[in-house]
Amino acid sequence: MAVEVILPRVDMDMATGKISKWHHKDGDKVAKGAALFEIETDKAAMEIDAPADGILRNIVVTEGGTAAVGSAVAWIYAEGEAVTAAAPAAAAQVTNAATPTAAATAAPVASTTTLNGEAPRATPLARRLARQAGLSIAAITGSGPRGRITAADVRSTEEAKPAAAPAPAATPDPVQKLYAPGSFEVIPVDGMRRTIAARLTESKQTVPHFYLSVTCTLTTLMATRERLNAAAPKGADGQPLWKLSINDFIIKAMALALQKVPNANVTWAGDSILQHKSSDVGVAVAVEGGLFTPVIRNAEGKTLTTISTEMKELAAKARARKLVPSEYQGGTTAISNLGMYGIEQFTAIINPPQATILAVGAAVDRFIPVKGQPVLASQMNCTLSCDHRAVDGAVGAEFLQAFGQLIEEPLLMLA
């Protein structure tokens, strides 16, 4: 009996997945547990392992093709086993060219009907209307028996979300018309780019941002950092066991400041506000073609060296696009640091459902008055973006003040 290779759910709100790469072709011998294909989700490429030993046959969803979660994308036959037609799976391939709207809408909206692993129930008419409207059926909540999605559900979804498809609102043609033909190259938008576009547009349009800035003097922090790094013991390879960065201190300071001002460690959840217990700090990592925000969880309880090590691993994984959803979802705040580019000050867009994000500028040497005398000191500017629905001005200020104190006197992190 051939073993089905299914398209697994690797992401909470995932209804379909795009196969970005097959590591094997039809007829190849594959080993159970070895990487078989890669799925491109909204955030990352995931390697999926072969579920059995045998010969790979009947690949029904080819590279670039999209399939519903749980549908068979290929079969693994025992050696010598007769190969049957893949007829039942012909429907697995949803489409080879998912419409941008479908993916964008699918990303942020979790469908209750898919949570238990079943494909969404929908009437043929509902499916057809959704197709025509560029909506993903998984993004629609069904009102019928057993959650069945009907035409009325599709229509109300369409009406309720006029801006549900922000990214492609400007359809390519009118935009292209503004520029001379041949004067540009068209770069196709991938899943990550679509998600960034959709999420951040949604955020900027629906989240009421306000901004608070603070300038921190880094003199003490720099000295502390130097002493700690100098004290790092050597490992077996002769390299020091740690090399702390300013960013590691910033992560720790954010985590502790959130513990000190728990009212800022919150998330707007529509009809409630979630106040989080741990400080899970996301850190934006730029990668080719976009960015990821891996999360250091429970950062308030972690040592600087642990944070430093974790951050290095996560950044490497992000750049290789190998992060798994549990590594980038669910932070309670985030840090975006553009200091290495010499940017002194900027504001960041909040990554929903987080309520805050800290934009960190470059460390700059300045003369500052100390007891009436100019003293050279290293300073950096930090700007906190707050979701006013969950975090008011005073709370944000209190939080940023606590953060500033920790940065200027890192010894407080031990207190």
Partner: protein, 328 residues
């Protein structure tokens, strides 16, 4: 326009067919001086003589074969079965001979006969005199099967059936015989194979046959008060089925229910459901396809049981309401 009962409309069609074509003759049990078990032939024997309104011995198989032979030899026999249930006695001639002779002989003969079958429940005649076997015969290539539901339709379709070069089976619901309706006096034909939209509506398509057309129209009337707008299609012909009319309707309403008196399983509604599921109308469906048919039982004697054995108006109303309100 003057009104006739369904039975009178049949009688008028038979008379007009005999007037127009001397090769038409009637045969059956007790259709002569008795006037037919349901008084359909009435006094025709006095007007046309015993040679054209022939009482036959109680030999259903023999009569069916005689009709086949006479049709092969240039006559147009119209055979009345006293009850449609007795078709079972004549199945050999209907299924093996009438339906197949043209085909078996390479298209070189025609079998222009008509068989009329009083059918259906509601008269307390119990299991062997109340069946709806229309789908049985509609399963046989070579036969045409019609089920007119109104006096006007039965006259026009019967005249078309008598004209038809192929064997046509006419199922007449016994409860319709006394139903009155306007019927034009002159002879006219209503094409076999064309369904009729008996009521236009926007929310659900009901494909009904025979007496169920009237029950569905009644249900539609009730549902109209709840702002549920039912389209009722009178199928009229079971073979060949007018799929196109149903597809068009379903594309408009997005919902389909089939209402028929024959046993639900493998009934005409099953065929219509399958055809719509296979058709371009599939992508327009916004609810499961529903069948309301006879229960999986012989027709019982007790009047309440008898009613419970086939679809009735309250049940149709409830089912259509649930279908349209998305509860099914």
């Amino acid at each position: 326009m003057r009104e006739l009962t369904y039975a009178q409309a049949i009688q008028e069609a038979l008379a007009q067919a005999m007037d127009a074509d001397p090769s038409v003759f009637l045969m059956g049990e007790d259709i002569g001086v008795y006037g037919g078990a349901f008084q359909v032939t009435g006094d025709l024997v006095h007007r046309y003589g015993e040679d054209r309104v022939m009482d036959a011995p109680i030999s259903e198989l023999g009569q069916a074969g005689v009709a086949v032979g006479a049709a092969l030899a240039g006559c147009k026999p119209v055979l009345e079965f006293q009850f449609s249930d007795f078709a079972t006695l004549a199945m050999e001639q209907i299924v093996n001979q009438a339906a197949k002779l043209r085909f078996m002989l390479g298209g070189k003969v025609n079998v222009p006969l008509v068989m009329r079958f009083p059918a259906g429940s509601g008269t307390g005649a119990a299991a062997q005199h109340s069946q709806s076997l229309d789908a049985w015969l509609a399963h046989v290539p070579g036969l045409k099967v019609i089920q007119p539901s109104t006096p006007a339709d039965v006259k026009g379709m019967l005249l078309a059936a008598i004209d038809d070069p192929d064997p046509v089976m006419v199922f007449e619901h016994k409860l319709l015989y006394k139903m009155k309706g306007e019927v034009p006096e002159e002879p006219y034909r209503i094409a076999i194979g064309k369904a009729h939209v008996a009521r236009e509506g926007r929310d659900v398509t009901v494909v009904a046959t025979s007496i169920m057309v009237h029950k569905s129209l009644e249900a539609a009337q009730i549902l109209a008060a709840e702002d549920i707008d039912v389209e009722v299609i009178d199928l009229r012909t079971l073979r060949p089925i007018d799929t196109a009319t149903i597809i068009e309707s379903v594309k408009k309403t997005s919902r389909l229910a089939c209402v028929y008196e024959g046993v639900k399983t493998l009934g005409i509604g099953s065929e219509i459901s399958a055809r719509i599921a296979e058709s371009e109308a599939f992508d327009y469906l916004d609810a499961p396809i529903l069948r309301l048919g006879g229960v999986e039982s012989p027709i019982p004697y007790n009047p309440e049981l008898e009613k419970a054995a086939v679809p009735q108006v309250p049940g149709i109303v409830e089912a259509l309401r649930n279908l349209v309100r998305g509860r099914m």
